[in-house]
Symmetry: C2
Subunit: 112 residues, 2 copies
């Protein structure tokens, strides 16, 4: 009856899984920022323009739970905490690069 | 003074631009679902498990504004409205496939 095949529109489970992490605002940008190497909280907050302390803290906890980011405490003194990508997180970097290339070619920068 | 190079953590502008679209929940899944070909609203809602009518409607309008999705009205009768990826939207599909492959290898499926 329908001309449109409904079966073909079921969203792929693996893509759904990817966006359970990347569909959360800021997560892709945080991973991309950490592509530059281990970072402190403050450096990350400066690198991801517009994010608040509370949200960055929440996102880092979520990315750590998902296994993309590792948090390391150096006893110091002074005590320092740093964040770095795990192997899993680093695996995203070449794909984020491709997304950036696609965006540069296809999206316009808009005022918010 | 700092051991961490702050410059290297500025999130890439192109990646930021990509996540202005993909960092919005559901958008990646909607594009992936439309990878199966043009679809009706109802078929899309079934394909993207868990999305509400209101949110799907909002996201389709946003994706159309961003140039990833085209809306076509067939005068009928009956009048039918269908949604399809543009060339720009189709350009995302191979990257979404890679994200899915990465997710399958690196993320665990969790109960919400």
């Amino acid at each position: 009856m329908a001309e449109i095949d409904e079966e073909s529109h079921v969203c792929d489970a693996a893509v759904t899984l990817a966006f359970s992490v990347l569909g959360k605002r800021w997560n892709g940008m945080i991973v991309s920022s950490l592509g530059g190497g281990p970072s402190t909280f403050v450096a990350l907050r400066r690198g991801v323009a517009g994010i608040s302390d509370t949200v960055l803290s929440d996102r880092l906890a979520g990315l750590a739970e998902a296994g993309l980011v590792a948090r390391t405490v150096d006893a110091g003194p002074p005590v320092t905490v740093s964040y770095a990508l795990t192997d899993s997180g680093r695996g995203l970097l070449p794909i984020l690069d491709q997304l950036g290339t696609w965006a540069s070619a296809n999206l316009e920068i808009r005022a918010r």
